[in-house]
Structure formats: C-alpha cells, structure tokens
Symmetry: D2
Subunit: 404 residues, 4 copies
C-alpha cells in the first residue's frame, strides 16, 4: 500500500492543473505548468483566438490551439441533388502537392461541365446488447421487441426532435441480442444524438424486462461491436454509415489530355490494373487516395477527425466510352459528416462551412455532395499523374523538405 | 467548341488568384478574392501566424490557417523500449468528452505503474507494377528481378540516405508483376521518400528491360493497389505499414474500481462481448475507439491526417488474471507516423512534438510507443464507461451543444 | 483461318462423346472414350449405382460416380427450436481424425445435456443491376422502384410458390442501380429458385422501362457482385445468406475434464488467444475449423458443395462461468443449405438426409440446427486438443499415411 | 450425480458400436445399429467398394460410402509451366448446368489456343503461439528466435523429408509471440506434415526455454489464428496459402461470339460492373463462381473438401484489347491442393487424379495449373451467360427439378 500511496502522491505532483474549469485563467495555469515542466515557451500553441468558455462542449482542459495551414480548392462545380453551385472548398493540410492536385482535379471536372452528385441516404447505428441467461430467453426477447416496437419508437421520439428511427433489428449471437437501432440524424453526424435516444429507449426496455420477470437480463451495454462507430467493418462498408453519396462526371477526351495530361485509354487501363490489385490486396473499397480530401475538409470544417477512419472507404469507377470520353463515378457509403453540432460551431471551422455554403441546418447533404466532388477530382488527378508517370516527379517538386 | 471556350472563360473568372506563389501578398490576394466571392469576412481563418514562404513544402495556395482547439493529456507514464518517461501528449480535437476520457485512462495507467510499450518494427511499401505482353515474360521478369536484386538495392541506396530496403518481392497477377519494395524509412513516415527511391530503381529497371529486349514492357506505374497507402487492406493490416507497436499493462483491481469505476470482471466480460460482436461485424481489427487519440495526436503533431484511415486498426486484448487484476494489451500494426519531414516542421506542430520529447531524428519509435499508451488508456476508459453504463450519461454531460 | 479450322477439327477429335444425352449407353460411350484416351481401366469411378436418366437435373455428361467414405457421427443431442432429438449425422470425408474428433465433441455435448439451437432466419439474395445513361435516371429509377414495389412483388409471386420476397432495396453505384431482391426460399437452398423469380420480375421491369421511355436502360444483368452467391463478402457475412443459426451449450467442468481432457480455464484462455490472433489475421469470423463438418455433411447430403466457401464463416464464443463451467455458443450467419431440390434427391444423399430426419419439406431449419450442433462439437474438441497440446499427437496417430 | 450417471448410461445405449475398429465386420455392426435405430434400409450408402482396412488413415468408424455423380470436363488445353497437355478433368457434383458450363468454357479456351498457367509458389503456414508473463520476455524471445533459427531449422529437417522451411517470423500481440513457420510442402497439401514439423521444433524450443530459465512460458499452443488453416483471412488471401497459381488466355473475338455467345465489349463491360460491385460488397477477391470447379475437382480427387472454404478466393481479370480480342487472367493465391497424402490415395479418387495425369509425386503444380484453367473457363462461361442475359434461361433448362 505504501507503494500505491507514493504513486498517488507522485501523480498529484504531475497533474495538469485546473481540471474541469473553462476559463482563460485556467488555460493560463495549464500553460504555465506545461512551460515549467517542459522548459518550452509554447508560444505558438499557447496563443488562442477562441474564448475558453465557448469551447465548453468541444474540449476539456483547453491549453491553446494548433494552427493547421489552410488552402481553398476551387472552383468546384457541383450539380447535385442538394446543390447546384460553384463551390470553394477549404482544405487544411500540411502535405505538399495535395492542394495542387485537388485543384487540377477540380479544373478537369469544371471543364467537363461539373460533377453530378447525389447524397442518397443517411443513417447512423447504435447497437446496444442485451445478454440473457440462455438462448431461449434471447429468442423470447426478439419476439418481445417485435411486439413492442411501437413503444420503443415512442421513447426515441421523446428523446430527440432530430433523430428518426429507420429500423430496429435484433442480431442474435448466442444468448446475446444486439439490437441495432438505425437512425437518420438530420444535419448532425449524430453519434451523440443517437446514443441519447438509444439509451432512453433501452432504459424503458430494461424497466419493462424487469417488470415482466420472464427474461432476466444478465448484462447490458449501450454499445458493442455492431454500431461501427470509428471502425472500418464489413457491415458499415456494405450497409452504410453516415451519408451515402455517389457522384459522376463524363470527361471529354480533350479535357483529359489537356488538364490531366494523360491519354484517356491509358488512364482507364491504369484504373483497371489498380482495381485488380486492390482486390488482390484485400482492400476495403477501391479508391486510391480519397482519405486525403476527406481528412483535409474534416479538419477545416470541424468534423470528428477520427471518422476519417471509416469515412475514407469508397468505390471509384472509370469507363472508357465508345466516343473516347471517360465516364467516372465515385460512391462513398460511409461519409460521417454534419453541419450542425460537434466542432461545426467552433468559429473558424464555421467560417469554413460558411465559405462552402454548408453551415447549419439543412446543409449536410449538400456538404456530402461537395466532398464527393472533391474526392472524384483528386482520384482523377492522382491516377492521371501515376498513369502518365508524373507522380514521382510532382512529389519531387512539391514536397521538397523531406529527408530523402 | 464555342461551349468549351465559354466554359474556359468562365473558369478563368472563378479561379483563385496567385497560383504557385508563396508570399503574404499572394495569400492576401486569395483572401480578398474569396471575401468578395463569398461576402464573408473570413477574419478567423484569414489570420495566420506562419510565414507563407516557410510552408512551401506543406501546402499550395495558402489562404490562412484553421485553429484546432488543443488540450494536453497527461501525465502518461510510458516504459517503452524507446522511452522511459512521463509524457504529456498534445491532442487537437473538437469532440467533447474525449480529453476527459483520455485523462481518466492515463490516470489509471499511471496508477498501475505505467504502460510497457515496444515499437517492434517499421516498414513502408511502394509497389509499382510492370505489365508485360504475356505471362511468360512476367515469369522471366520475376527471375530477372531475383538475379538483379543487388543492383536494384544499389539504385535505392543512391536515392536516399534514410530509406533502407528490407525486401523486394514480386506479386504476379496474370501478366502484371507488382514489385513490392518494402522499406524502413527511419523517422519519417516515408511515403514520399520511398516513392523517390522506388522511382529511381524502376527507372533503372526500365532501362535495363529496354536494353535486353527480351521482356518488352506493356505498361508501368509507380503505384497500384499493393502499397496500401491511404487504404485499409487485409495486406496492410496483417503485414504492417508504418510502425508496428504493441503495449501492455497490468491494472490492479482497485485501480480499475477506483479510477475506471467498474468491476474488473464486468470490464473483461464486456470486452469479450465486444470482441465477438466485432468479429460478427466483419471489423478490421478489434478496438473500440483508437481512431480518437490517433486523430487528435496526428492533427496536433503535423502527421499526415489522411493516414488516420489506415492507422486506426488495431487489436486490443483484456484478460482477467487469477489474482483479480486485469492484463491489457494493444497492438497497432500500421501506425503511420514520423517525427521529421512532412508537417512535423510546421512551427506549432513542432512545438507539440517537442512537448512530447518527440521532435526530430531518432524519435519516431518513441512517438509510436507514446501513442500506443494513449490508445490503451482511451480503450480502457471508454470500455469501462460502457461496461458500467456511464457512457451515455458522460456524453450527456460533456457534449451538451448537440441538437438532440 | 486455316489455323482456326485446324483447331476446330482437332477439338472435334478430342471431344467426349454423347453430349446432351442422359442414358446408360451414353455413359458407356463416354467411359469408353476416356479409357481409350487415358489407357486407364477406370473401374472404380466407372461403376455407378444410379440411373443416368434420374440424374438429369444434377449433372450433364455423366461418366460414373466417385465414392466418398462415409461415417456417421453421433449421438448428437439437439434441443433446437425446430428439432428436439438425438440425431446421427452422416459425414463424408477422407481426412483422418475428423470423425473421431466430431464424435468426441458430440459426446461432450451429449453429456452436457445437449445443444440448444435456433435457426433464426433464412434469406437468399439475387441482385441484378440496371445501368442507366446517367445518375439522374438512376435516381428516377430508385423512385420508380419504390412506387412499383407492389407490382414487382406480384411478378415474384407468379414465378414461384415457394419463394417469399422479404425486401427490395436499390444500391446505387454511380449510374448503376443494383436491385437487391431478398427472399426466403423455404426448404430449398434457393439459388435457382430466386434466379427464376428475379428474372421474371426484371423482365416486367424492363418492359415497363421500355414503355415509359423516361429511363432508357444502358445495360442489365441478372447478377453482379451484390448477391454473394459462392463468395465470402463483408455483406454476406454481416447481413446473412442462407440460414442464420445460433447454438449454445453449458459444459460442466467435469465433462470438459473427462471428455475433452482439458482444464476449463485452459480451454477458455486458449479461445481468447485464438480470438485475438484471428482478429490480427484479418479473419472473416472467428472459428477454428467449422469448414470440416460443413464440408463433410454437405458432401453426404447432396448440398451444393461449392457453398462450403461462404457457409464456413462463423462466430464461436466461449466463456468461463463463475461456477467453473463453460458457456459455449456458435453463430453461423450464412449456412447455405436445403432439404429439397438440387442434390438432395440423389438416392444416397437422400438416405443421408433421411438418417438425420432431415429429408424433404419442412426440414431445412432442423437440418441447419443439427449442423450447428456438429460445428460446436468439433470446435470444442479441436480447441481442447490444441489447448492441451494433444493436437499434434492425435494427428500423428490418426493420419499416418501422409508423406512426412 | 444421479443425473450424470443416467446421462452416461443413456449415452452408452445410443453409441454407434465398434469404435476404433477398421474391418468389414465392424462396418456391418455400425450399419446394423443405424438401420435398427432409423428403420431405414440404407442400401445405397451401405454398399462400399473399398476395403475398410485400407481407409484407416482417411476416416474413422466407416459406415459405407456416398456416391457423388461424376462427369469429366474437357478437353482442357493447358500450356503451363508444369504441364503442356490436353487434359480431361473429373468433376463430382450434383448441381445441374455446372458441367455444361465448364465444358463451354473449356471449348472457348481450346479454340483460343489454350490456357497459359503458372503455379508460382507453394506455402503452408503453421503458427504456434508462445505466451510469456510480460512483453519484455516476449521481446527477448523474438531476439532468441533470431539467434537460434539455424537450430530450429535443423529440428524441422529431422521431422520430415518433404517439408522445407521457407521462413520463420515472430508476430507479437502483447506478451504473446505467434511464430509463423512458413513451409513448402511439396506435393502434399501439407497441413499434417507441417503440424508434425512445427511441433517437433516447438518441443525443442520449449525445452531450451525451460533450460534457460530466462523466459518462462505462460502458455503454448501449436496453432492459433495466424495459420489460416480452414479460414478465409486477409493474411491468407494476400500472403498466400497452398499453391499460388495464375493463368491467362487471349480469346479471339470470334471465339467469344461463337462459343460464348456474347459480344466481347459486352462481356468486358459486365466484368467491370461486377468488379465495382464486388468491391462494394466487401468481397474477398473478385471472381464470380470459382468455388464451383474447385469443389467439384476437390471431391473427385480426394482433396480436403473443407479447404474449398479458403481456396475459392481469387482475382479474375478481363481486358478488351485494341484488336477486339479479350485478354483474361485469373489468380488463385490460396489453392490448397495435393497429389499425395490425405484422400488422394483412396482408389476412386486416385483414378480421377490419374485421369488428369496428376497422381503422385511431382504433380501438385501441374494439378494446380489445370484447376486454374478450369476456373478460368467457368468464369468466362458464366459471365458470358449473365452478360448476354442467358443465365436464367440456362438454369431454367438444366436445373428443372427444383421446387420453384
């Protein structure tokens, strides 16, 4: 026990101060502590243009900010179902060549008449599990859920004005029943919203089970492996998570040659080799580098950056038409984005959303369509660079400070 | 043609000015253009504490910066192979509750005596493909590569002082040979470095093939599907990409109860249910939410944020020991990180690396071990919250501005 | 052309005779041809206890049969939702040790009081694609499908008395709409049945599209990648294909020790290591060797043996209970089986189904539950052998003719 | 206890007699028992042309055989690295239309001049795990393995004349080290062989660890999740298991039209849609139905039928050449086959191997190349049927006894 006391005491001396406080004073206390511990001035990250109190729901123990370089890609012409506009897309990155390549792709797409996009659907899962003492009780519970779905929906309704329960499906794994609540979460990415709604419904279910006595619960948790939150899974990729968006463009042969500097047939041939080798690599999806614009836009616009993980799997497609032009499509089945809530209200991130015309309610589908357009542009630009053997040279030119 | 001329003219009027220029004047021109187009003041993102010229290799067409809120998690005690220290870890995020949960995990680990970590290995692939006119030539080429490996290695050596070629393996898909160059890239994440080295080697190979006349090339590209760059693939996840790091900790039962507020047996039981349901979901790896700290640290420290995609798949493991304590391990097979090159030299990002004692040469393995420790802490904290049914409440409390 | 004529002539001389004929005479002609070409007597495979005419729907160009050694495993006690019986399970195999291990597992399960099983659901997909000339037409088609679902269902109804259309869902990939028809196929495995139904519905859809003129079809096919037939896919594994069945058993500690020759804690510990390493291997599902009984029963009972491919992915689960006993469950989400149609009517295969009490209508769910019980038994037996370090010895003993 | 005694007694009465005996008498006893229990005559499966004693290493508790209908597909022209021949391929199946489609594919390939095939490599893994008490010991063990690899190889050599150890690689998951032994197993599929070799090596390792005292073992097992035996995993699919074989063919346009009844451009277009939708389905590999010939040949030739599971994932590829002809390739990375050992010595199965010229030593690579040719033929035939909208009709015609 002496050891534990000593450790606890040591820990006290190492703790960053002002836990739980949201003020400039608290922030300066933390900064001072870290400066002393590290001997660093921390001048850059120590400066902060935000009011600590305003970030109460975005971060705990604020110390400052890190400035990520920002460029704006565009014009991006998007003729979507939820947008028909010329858009400028803010991208935050520190990777040389990315913005240049995004711009090249956007130019090709603009000259091709723009990208047609469609945010097809939106859904977020939360999948609590109910463990029973045997399979027979699990079976009765599945029946019970079917019989009581109306009341479950009722509880969800009471918990949120924005979440819409699309379906409720039990998945049985032995005596555990994972109950997948599938929601539409409107313009929020929705992870927190659907947690609250599901929890409310589950509380009612648990009360009802306790009353019935027929199916005693052995264990319960609001979340296990079937929600797909922050994970790349076969289920998420095939069923969708967040916004499913698809986009297409027909690129005239001369645009491909002039802007993308590649023969159309060479570009499509490369895509076919890429596709076969992605399959051989066991790739989830078939894209070359859509994680790049997704990450850059997510950072700029206050998205949950961790969702770059599951959002960056998609299906790209190229076809050489008989007229010599190229048909391109891209499908992103799990683009987890929102235009309200989370980091979208942080001032600079909000500016970025505003610049895209994507801030606030009613904008999430437009936002998804714009991102799909950027992804298509980058795929085309990068594939063209690779297919025409300019990729290595371009990186040589634009990413010079690497220690090669 | 008239239509195309009109489109080209329209595009000219919509282009963001000062392409290819790296100066404050150019930046202001772009800002001015965007302000006019959007009618927005762009005061937040328009301010920028960096010198545009200094970001030449990190971004094109700089417009400003976006400030991402920063907290520092710690103390994190890491007893790794490449670090034995108490570390403070900067995390950039806009997601409420994340930093609090990371700190709770770090506290538990500290009180348990710290995390033992081992960055086992590091590797980056680049896999150009060589397409021949038939399988027979592909077969001869595979033989040829075996016979000429020494010279290929020689070309790689000339192209970089930092890249080390670990292996060279042909993968045959019909008449295409994908030649996987596997490198150790030192302290850089290495994508650009290995592109340069591979390109140099491939140029020599192509010259040699042209001279021999025996195996005429039908097509070539520096990169197809087998490199795994910016993609989650079965190959990358099982073979590794970037740094492979594993970490462990034994958590005394009372630490689990006091800090994580859960019974050890309940936590481990939950993990087992999670594990089964991750398997049922077809998850790549078995973790709950390591994408969170990976994204937060990547943004803070100038990593390639798009690599959150492939880096966030890992294997978490919990075991209830006979003495009632918990053994925990985490294995991250594809953590793509660097401490030199890319965004690691941007001033504020460099401050963050310095705060962790991870800036510059010789620090990448230490950096990876620290990240693994943070991931373990968050997994423990989140799983404990879920297993003890506090997760929904905690989010209710800390993520209040969502539109629920 | 001369070359082609020569090849065609050569081909004529090499063709196996009596194409398209179903008779003993035809069979003997083929046999004679092969004997002459090969110089082999083909006495074994040349003998055949079936009437060629009776195999008209099972094979073309019948030459004979191959006898696969058959054992019967049991007694297997299954207390399922669709079976409460002691069953003997015919297994066809040439792999030494398999039947012995299956029997050991069955004994353990019998002594534990039997296996509780539940065939939860059954579904087969067929997913034709409709390609349009642009995304906008694809979007209109999705709307049209929603508006005309009743008539589509009507066409399905007319095509089969057994297939039941559970859902109809469009999946959009660019301008292609893959229309997933999800059926319950009763006691048939159903691949052919749902092909016929879907084709009938699609013919009507195509006529309707031709009449409307509004959404001209660019291309159509009855099947592309989304049906999952004969393929392991993330979609199939998570959504299910064929019968989804789950089973459980509580094994008393002394049964584990006496029959499986392993300490319960050692067995469960091994399972946890297996589970973590399956995850690290990127395994689809988490089982050790269920492909073995699935293959052996499929061959014995006239199932489509190729479906061993997608059927053999499942989720096994073990838990050490506080009372020292072991809880085991197994979940097979895509067990493609039938008790009518296909090879189930071939005389000897039918005998095998009869022996299990699984021949004919109304038996498919019972059949699935029995297979799940066998899978659980083998998993337990093999894992026990491995966990107690007897696996290598057992194989040494029972698989002696290998060239080691 | 009374209950357990009663269960044990009940079990005794239900046991199939003559356990462990290999004789006709024993077989008849079992048959008699099953006839009595079931009331069935079991005339078909009860007859058996094999001598029970001769099947000692292939099956326990033999009861009889099940006859699977056999056809022979061919001529199949294979110009492989290990075969340059016209081959007749025995296929055992009960699925109508399969043999007809295989023959159509073989005809197309013959008229195209045959299939070029290359069995590139062969490897089988066995991956025992060594669990230590902490990560530090695991690290020392990895070092120790590197230092003692020569002696480990020595132990493998002593255990088998046929297995060749290709590589030895530790995979660290926390404090567990999974040691992947990668072998070439010659003409045997090799699962048992490599178990014996690995076990022998591990016994030596364990003795050495016990002597050193420095790295006490907490647990050991000969097999956990990293071997890929009987499982579809990302590791197996990308690294290979069994034989990796690739094959190609150029199909003249008129052969495609005459034999496959489809326009070349329509066939290739279909393949591209298939490829995109396989990717969207999260498919392991990109083939339509290679599990069919693999299963049919495996049953006919005494392969381990359970290996249909992992063997049936591959990468098919089609390309429309500028001359209007079609280039086709297929790559099977994990075809688990053998021509000695296991069921390959059972008389009728051996006849089938002999008919292919694939019986005995030195034939496994030839065998793999022949199978790849059949897979290519069926893919072409089925895809052509689907692409030209004849698939549903063909099944209507040839699979008539289904209960549609």
């Amino acid at each position: 026990m002496d050891y534990e006391v000593a450790v606890a005491r040591e820990l006290d001396g190492l703790r960053i101060p002002a836990k739980g406080e949201y003020s400039e004073v608290a922030r300066q206390q933390r900064l001072g502590f870290l400066r002393e511990k590290s001997g660093l001035a921390l001048e850059g990250v120590g400066s902060c243009s935000y009011t600590p109190e305003a970030l109460k729901n975005n971060i705990e123990s604020l110390v400052g900010t890190v400035e990520v370089p920002l460029a704006v890609v565009g014009p991006v012409r998007v003729k979507g179902v939820h947008v028909d506009d010329t858009v400028y897309v803010p991208c935050a990155t520190t990777e040389g060549a990315l913005v240049a390549s995004l711009n090249r792709g956007a130019t090709a797409l603009f000259r091709a008449g723009g990208v047609t996009a469609w945010a097809v659907s939106q859904r977020v899962l939360r999948a609590p599990y109910f463990e029973f003492f045997d399979l027979s009780a699990a079976q009765r519970f599945c029946q019970w859920v079917g019989d009581n779905e109306a009341e479950v929906r009722n509880r969800v309704l009471r918990a949120s004005d924005h979440a819409e329960l699309l379906s409720l499906e039990p998945v049985v794994i032995g005596r555990c029943v994972h109950l997948t609540f599938e929601y539409r979460s409107g313009d929020a990415s929705g992870q927190n919203m659907v947690t609250a709604c599901t929890w409310s419904a589950c509380n009612w279910i648990r009360e009802a089970l306790a009353l019935s006595g027929d199916m005693p619960l052995a264990d319960f948790a609001i979340e296990a492996g079937l929600s797909g939150d922050k994970r790349v899974t076969g289920q998420t990729f095939t069923r969708g998570r967040g916004t499913r968006v698809t986009a297409e463009c027909v690129l005239p042969a001369d645009v491909v040659r002039d802007v993308l500097k590649v023969e159309p047939s060479a570009l499509v041939h490369y895509f076919h080799q890429l596709s076969a080798s992605e399959s051989a690599a066991g790739s989830v999806g078939c894209c070359l580098n859509i994680a790049n614009p997704i990450a850059a836009v997510f950072v700029a616009t206050g998205q949950d950056i961790a969702c770059v993980h599951e959002s960056s799997a998609g299906v790209f497609y190229l076809e050489l038409q008989q007229d010599g032009n190229i048909y391109a499509s891209i499908t992103l089945p799990c683009l987890v984005v929102g235009t309200v809530g989370g980091g979208t209200g942080v001032p600079q991130q909000r500016e970025c959303l505003q610049l895209m015309g994507c801030a606030g309610s009613g904008k999430a589908m437009r936002f998804a369509e714009c991102i799909a357009a950027c992804c298509m542009g980058l795929e085309l630009s990068t594939m063209s660079a690779v297919a025409s053997d300019q990729f290595a040279q371009a990186h040589e030119r634009m990413g010079r400070n690497r220690p090669a």
